[in-house]
């Protein structure tokens, strides 16, 4: 709706609850409203803000396109969705939840592969022996490509994986993975280890402002109000 500050929040799960609690503590109580089956809301006592509940991965897309002014979502999803993330959005406030690391993980038994450097040479041998490139299972295709290119690793192929990525090596669907981990327990349980220099991103949920949204001076005032209350 034009004239409103559109705030995009996760529509389900723990992230939705944590966002609501964070905003509540800052005195910004989110109230669901309207006929749209609970996918719309507003903030009590702060007219002019329209809350849209959207899935986390789509929030990044809305901030990229400028169809939301503000949003809360994971930095991993923001950087995956936008190669030029820092130009398209402004990070206003780290939320202190949704912490996760995006990492490169390989079978722990690969005692000959400890760093990204080893990966490139191993990939070379692998191709000679197996006649194909090593496969990396991930849902973070763009983060993977940028990180591997930055580290001079080229001899690989990405296999898109939308769930249970950590099982891909054992299922022979990929040789290694790029995935999120918090404690590393899931990786260990699947016989995987993180490469010594394989941390791609330390991510958490962030309040982010879209640089491409239709901003007016009034909406900037509202943005400052929301950011100021969260910063306390």
């Amino acid at each position: 709706m034009s004239g409103h500050l559109i705030l995009a929040l996760p529509s389900k799960g723990r992230l939705m609850e944590q966002c609501a609690a964070l905003l509540e503590r800052a005195g910004l109580t989110v109230v669901k409203s309207g006929p749209a089956r609970g996918y719309k809301g507003e903030i009590a006592g702060l007219p002019g803000v329209e809350v849209n509940f959207i899935s986390s991965s789509e929030i990044a897309q809305h901030l990229k396109n400028g169809t939301a002014h503000l949003g809360i979502t994971g930095e991993d999803l923001l950087r995956e969705t936008m190669a030029d993330c820092d130009e398209r959005v402004t990070f206003l406030h780290p939320c202190g939840f949704g912490q996760t690391d995006v990492v490169v993980a390989v079978p722990a038994a690969w005692i000959d592969v400890r760093q990204m450097f080893d990966l490139e040479e191993m990939a070379l041998n692998f191709r000679r022996l197996h006649g194909r490139r090593i496969r990396v299972a991930t849902k973070y295709m763009n983060l993977t490509r940028r990180f591997f290119a930055h580290n001079g690793v080229t001899g690989y192929r990405i296999v898109e994986s939308l769930g249970a990525t950590e099982g891909a090596p054992a299922a022979l669907l990929a040789e290694l993975i790029v995935d999120i981990t918090t404690t590393g327990a899931t990786l260990r349980a699947n016989g995987l280890k993180v490469l010594e220099d394989g941390l791609i991103l330390k991510s958490q949920a962030n309040l982010v402002s879209s640089n491409g949204a239709p901003w007016t001076p009034e909406l900037r005032n509202l943005e400052r109000e929301v950011a100021a209350r969260l910063a306390v």
């Binding site: 038994a109 005692i111 000959d112 080893d118 490139e120 490139r133 001899g155 192929r157 090596p169 010594e196």
Partner: protein, 392 residues
């Protein structure tokens, strides 16, 4: 991409016709490989850099397909469909669209949908002669299309390979340096590592295993690795075997015992990769670099000179061509001679044509052995833009 003006489409079609007339007159058979290609094979041979720029999609049967990002691999596939061994001499030419995603959005010099006109020559045994013939024909084609002034940039991976072969070092080091040639940063890092005894020894392999591994008894290594993994409670998941892991650990054990590369050799390699000179002077400059090391690149240097002579004989002015050892292409598959035709209007990052030798590609696509191959392609939109035709 907005629709093209009818005028430009016609100008491109007329230009393509002239280019193909030049190619077919030289006995290159005109072919039209499929635009839609199987993604798997294609993506395996072109590497992740170009893969990131390839339009990949899934058809209703779940088959992964792609829009061809170039016509060289499709031409290899067509050749192998006719001659599974690949070793029957053949010369092909083509003209048609290719597709590449352009990060940051397409521009007129880097469109996401463009037409390539090119030639590929397979299984010719006289490599220098074929290299020169392909470049000469490419030059003839752009000249006949109307391009009067251009610069020629040459490179030769054969010289680099010969230099590495002439310097004493383990074969696996040569393989690594060759592999990193396209990536200057990784190349310098690897060179620094090979010249440092500490760097060669400072690897994270467990001491007990490193001491037990004997590079002179490689057959014992897989069992040692399996024993170590079992004692450490590490389960071997996935495709790689203990044999493969042992192979790399043996190389590390050998590296740790190896005499590092002398810094004079590293300086020579760096001196070569920095070499940039008029093509006719490059060979002499390289010999001057080699002199103090008492090294002789023999056949590779002779091949380099012979190719220049053949180009001269074909009417190519090699005195104004430049040679750059580090002359880089964004396709990893080149293995020998490489060249680009550039014009000042578009700059060095947008060559009008380019090509080179790729002796490994047919084997990568499925030929049972390596097959000599050299080819070139013309970026027809750029050529038309330089000639001022079909005003966009």
């Amino acid at each position: 991409m907005p629709a093209e003006a009818a005028q430009k489409v016609e100008a491109l079609a007329a230009q393509a016709q002239r280019l193909m007339a030049t190619f077919t007159r030289a006995d290159y058979e005109q072919i039209a490989p499929a635009i839609i290609q199987p993604a798997g094979l294609f993506l395996d041979v072109i590497g992740e850099n170009l893969r990131a720029r390839t339009y990949v999609f899934t058809d209703p049967d779940g088959e992964e397909l792609c829009l061809r990002p170039d016509l060289t691999v499709p031409t290899c596939r067509l050749h192998l469909a006719r001659h599974p061994a690949g070793d029957v001499p053949a010369r092909y030419c083509y003209s048609g669209p290719a597709f590449r995603y352009q990060p940051g959005g397409p521009t007129s010099a880097h469109p996401s949908e463009f037409r390539q006109a090119g030639i590929e020559s397979f299984a010719a045994t006289d490599r220098e002669k074929d290299d020169a013939a392909v470049l000469a024909l490419t030059v003839e084609a752009v000249r006949e299309a109307g391009l009067a002034r251009f610069d020629l940039r040459l490179g030769d991976l054969g010289l680099f390979n010969a230099l590495l072969d002439a310097l004493p070092m383990p074969q696996r080091w040569r393989r690594r340096l060759r592999h990193h040639f396209w990536r200057p940063e990784a190349f310098r890092a690897e060179l620094a590592r090979l010249t440092s005894r500490e760097a060669l020894q400072a690897r994270g392999v467990p001491r007990e295993l490193m001491d037990a591994l004997d590079p002179d008894r490689p057959e014992a290594a897989p069992n040692l690795v399996e024993g170590y993994l079992e004692r450490s409670g590490l389960e071997l998941v996935g495709t790689r075997t203990a044999h493969e892991i042992a192979g790399r650990l043996l190389a590390e054990a050998a590296d740790a015992r190896e005499t590092p590369l002398p810094s004079s050799a590293a300086t020579l390699i760096e001196g070569y990769t920095a070499l940039k000179a008029p093509a006719r002077e490059a060979a002499a400059r390289l010999e001057a670099l080699l002199g103090p090391h008492k090294l002789d690149l023999g056949a590779a240097l002779a091949a380099f000179r012979r190719r220049l002579d053949l180009l001269d004989a074909a009417g190519i002015d090699t005195t104004s061509a430049t040679f750059a050892a580090e002359f880089g292409r964004d396709l990893e598959y080149y293995t020998g001679f490489v060249f680009e035709i550039v014009v000042p209007e578009l700059g060095p990052r947008s060559p009008v044509a380019g090509g080179g030798r790729y002796d490994d590609l047919l084997a990568d696509v499925g030929a049972p052995t390596k097959v000599p191959a050299v080819g070139a392609c013309i970026h027809t939109e750029r050529l038309l833009a330089v000639l001022g035709g079909g005003a966009a």
